[in-house]
């Protein structure tokens, strides 16, 4: 049976009249890459800050590794790695010294720390930059340094708060591969991001937050099954009459048909062979058609349908 690493139970956090977390509950199992999604002000960062005891909360309970989390739970904190959205390093220290500093907040044994720091540098690929000061690093390299500072002490739980913001594609891929590699070595990951494709790519389970509440939770497939749309068929075809569109609407599992001059878009809810049936209608009437697409719903559509707003409509 998988162990529960994080258990948040009925968490309430208020700022005066403002309810930032509204009876929020969550359970994260060992070995998961758990994605926490939500629009601006949905409570993701508040949740993380409460988890880390950086913020007090009004009601509820947080357990990490089976123990209650408090500001003085140093035995729990030693196994948590945090990578914040903003790069938090010291400009006065070199790459090596920065990683050593943050690792030293957890590991006091100098020999062991040196080994851990070397491993972290190798992991993020900063071997050639150990003596560089942060000012000399590019945005991507800075992000990698930020990650190295958060993981050098070999935590069992790593919280990444949007670690790929303003990162070039090459560094982003490297970071995502690194996260998966860490996960394969047994580390549990909590990942928040605006980038749906990243979440789809690496997260094993996802929770969607809105207005301080959890509105959906599950695997990617489970989330996609929660919405009405399961397949969108697009066909390039000219000169369709109203009778053809009416026949399309009458097909099983079709709940919406749109046509504008040359592109027919059919939205389906459940069922199989939807594409074959749509093409049969066109062939029966000997209508020629161009390119044909059949798309499964994206996480963005799931998000849009559940929360009623796009995730990236406003950068946080």
């Amino acid at each position: 049976m998988e162990k529960t690493v994080v258990k948040i139970d009925n968490l309430v956090k208020r700022y005066g009249e403002l309810v930032a977390l509204d009876h929020f509950s969550l359970e994260i199992k060992e070995g998961e890459i758990f994605g926490l999604l939500g629009p601006n002000g949905s409570g993701k960062t508040t949740t993380i800050n409460c988890m880390l005891s950086l913020l007090s909360f009004d009601k509820g309970n947080i357990e990490i590794f089976g123990k209650k989390m408090t500001p003085v739970s140093y035995d729990i904190k030693k196994d948590i790695g945090i990578i914040m959205q903003n790069v938090v390093v010291s400009e006065e220290l070199t790459v090596y010294e920065n990683i050593d500093y943050f690792c030293g907040l957890y590991i006091t044994d100098k020999k062991l720390r040196r080994q851990y720091v070397d491993e972290a540098i190798k992991f993020v690929g900063l071997e050639d930059f150990t003596k560089f000061y942060p000012k000399k690093l590019s945005g991507g390299l800075l992000r990698r340094l930020n990650i190295a500072c958060g993981i050098a002490h070999k935590p069992k739980l790593i919280i990444l708060d949007e670690p790929t913001v303003a990162v070039d594609p090459q560094s982003r891929n490297r970071i995502l591969e690194g996260i998966q590699e860490l996960n394969r070595s047994g580390v549990t990951i909590i990942y928040t991001s605006h980038y749906m494709e990243e979440v789809e790519q690496i997260c094993t389970r996802i929770a969607i937050m809105d207005k301080g509440r959890k509105v959906a939770e599950g695997t990617k497939d489970e989330l996609k099954r929660m919405i009405k749309n399961t397949e969108t068929i697009s066909i390039e075809v000219l000169g369709l009459g109203e009778d053809v569109l009416a026949e399309m609407r009458a097909l099983p599992h079709v709940y919406d048909v749109k046509y504008d001059e040359k592109l027919l878009v059919i939205s389906c809810s459940g069922g199989k062979h939807n594409l074959t049936r749509a093409l049969d209608v066109l062939q029966k009437r000997e209508l020629s058609f161009g390119r044909v697409y059949s798309e499964l719903p994206t996480l963005n559509e799931v998000f849009l349908e559940i929360t009623g707003k796009a995730l990236r409509d406003k950068e946080e």
Partner: protein
């Protein structure tokens, strides 16, 4: 000791600019203090005088000789244009014409018509020479009235007018142990201490106290107490190091180790160092930018120095200024120094009271800083980045 090591590394980066203050201070204050101590006597400035003796009697020649003993006699042609030119180019400051009949008038009581003069209107030379001549003539007549003959009267009058009183500034009991140079040096310390401490300590405390950096550290398993102790230790090492360095300079300035009541000046500077540290801590509580820190350094450093009598003695400051200065710790620091330098009568109990007031300032500033920090951290959650959630309908 991770935080302590980081503290020292950040401090090292900021120390250079701050040490410029110390270097400039040492380079300027030592010669200034020494020159202030050396310039004990007032020195007359000789005035260039051209004398035209139209009387040409022993009395008029005695007057010319008398003037020559105090001022510089300049040869000048008795020509109106040349006299005007000389006065204009200041090759001569004063032209004295001893009128014909001077000797006769000197014996009598008639003061009019003894001399004619040409000079720049209302220049300092006019006033000085006029006073000198009045004194001389008055003294000669006084000696003649007392029965002396003309020769004796002129000699005695010249000696009396030109005699200089020797002035010795008596130092009050308890102020003998601090040399004048050291006293000046200790006064100037207020400016250097406040400038260096704010300039060097604030950037380090601001860097370590930066919200995200602090949050990141709070996430680790380092205990809050350990973190605070290391930051305190770093600050204490820097402040103690700076104070010791300035004390070494003070010993050099003093020409040897302090003795007697001079140790009070050392204690006073230590208390003021604590005040400066508390001020730095209070400034950091408001998280100012580097520019604001530099600005505050100048405002607090120069402002309190001018208002409290560091650069100008308190005796020369107006009552209103002094009344306002009492609310600044530098005022009480200078009060102690005035007592130790002899400007104010030494009184042990008052000295202790002044120092206690300084300590009171240190404690009050520290408490305010702690309160501001507490309020800031308790409201930090409200200012958390990214929190823009809308109020919910209950």
């Amino acid at each position: 000791m991770q935080v302590f090591k980081l503290f020292m590394k950040v401090l090292k980066k900021n120390l250079f600019t701050s040490m410029i203050y110390v270097i400039v201070f040492v380079a300027i204050s030592i010669p200034m203090a020494r020159s202030a101590a050396a310039d004990k006597a007032f020195k007359d400035t000789p005035i260039k005088i051209a004398v035209f003796d139209e009387d040409d009697t022993p009395e008029s020649r005695a007057l010319t000789e008398f003037i020559g003993r105090k001022h510089k006699l300049v040869e000048l042609e008795n020509d109106k244009d040349k006299i005007m030119q000389a006065l204009y180019f200041e090759t001569v400051n004063y032209v004295l014409i001893i009128n014909d009949g001077y000797a006769e008038r000197l014996v009598g009581s008639d003061t009019d018509g003894l001399f004619s003069t040409q000079h720049i209107h209302e220049s300092y030379a006019t006033v000085m020479v006029s006073q000198l001549l009045d004194s001389y003539v008055g003294s000669v007549r006084a000696y003649l009235a007392s029965g002396a003959d003309m020769s004796e009267a002129q000699q005695s009058a010249a000696d009396a007018v030109l005699s200089q009183a020797e002035v010795t500034i008596a130092r009050s009991k308890g102020s003998e142990d601090l040399s004048e140079a050291s006293s000046t040096h200790f006064r100037y310390l207020t400016y250097i201490l406040i400038s260096v401490i704010i300039n060097a300590l604030c950037p380090v405390l601001l860097k370590l106290g930066k919200k995200e950096f602090r949050f990141r550290t709070n996430c680790s398993c380092m205990k809050s107490a350990s973190y605070s102790i290391q930051v305190f230790a770093g600050s204490a090492v820097f402040i103690a190091g700076l104070w010791l360095l300035l004390m070494v300079v003070s010993v050099v300035q003093n020409g040897g180790m302090f003795t007697g009541t001079a140790w009070y000046a050392v204690l006073n500077s230590l208390i003021y160092t604590l005040i400066c540290a508390a001020i730095a801590l209070l400034i950091c509580s408001f998280e100012p930018s580097d520019t604001v820190v530099n600005l505050l350094t100048q405002i607090i450093g120069l402002g309190s120095s001018f208002l409290c009598g560091v650069f100008i003695p308190q005796s020369m400051l107006g009552e209103g200024v002094l009344a306002a200065a009492k609310f600044l710790p530098a005022y009480w620091y200078v009060k102690v120094m005035e007592m130790l330098s002899g400007s104010e009568a030494f009184d042990g109990s008052r000295l202790a009271m002044y120092m206690l007031i300084e300590l009171g300032f240190a404690v009050a500033l520290l408490l305010i800083a702690l309160v501001v920090n507490r309020v800031k951290y308790s409201s930090a959650a409200i200012k958390l980045p990214k929190l823009t959630a809308q109020p919910q309908k209950q």
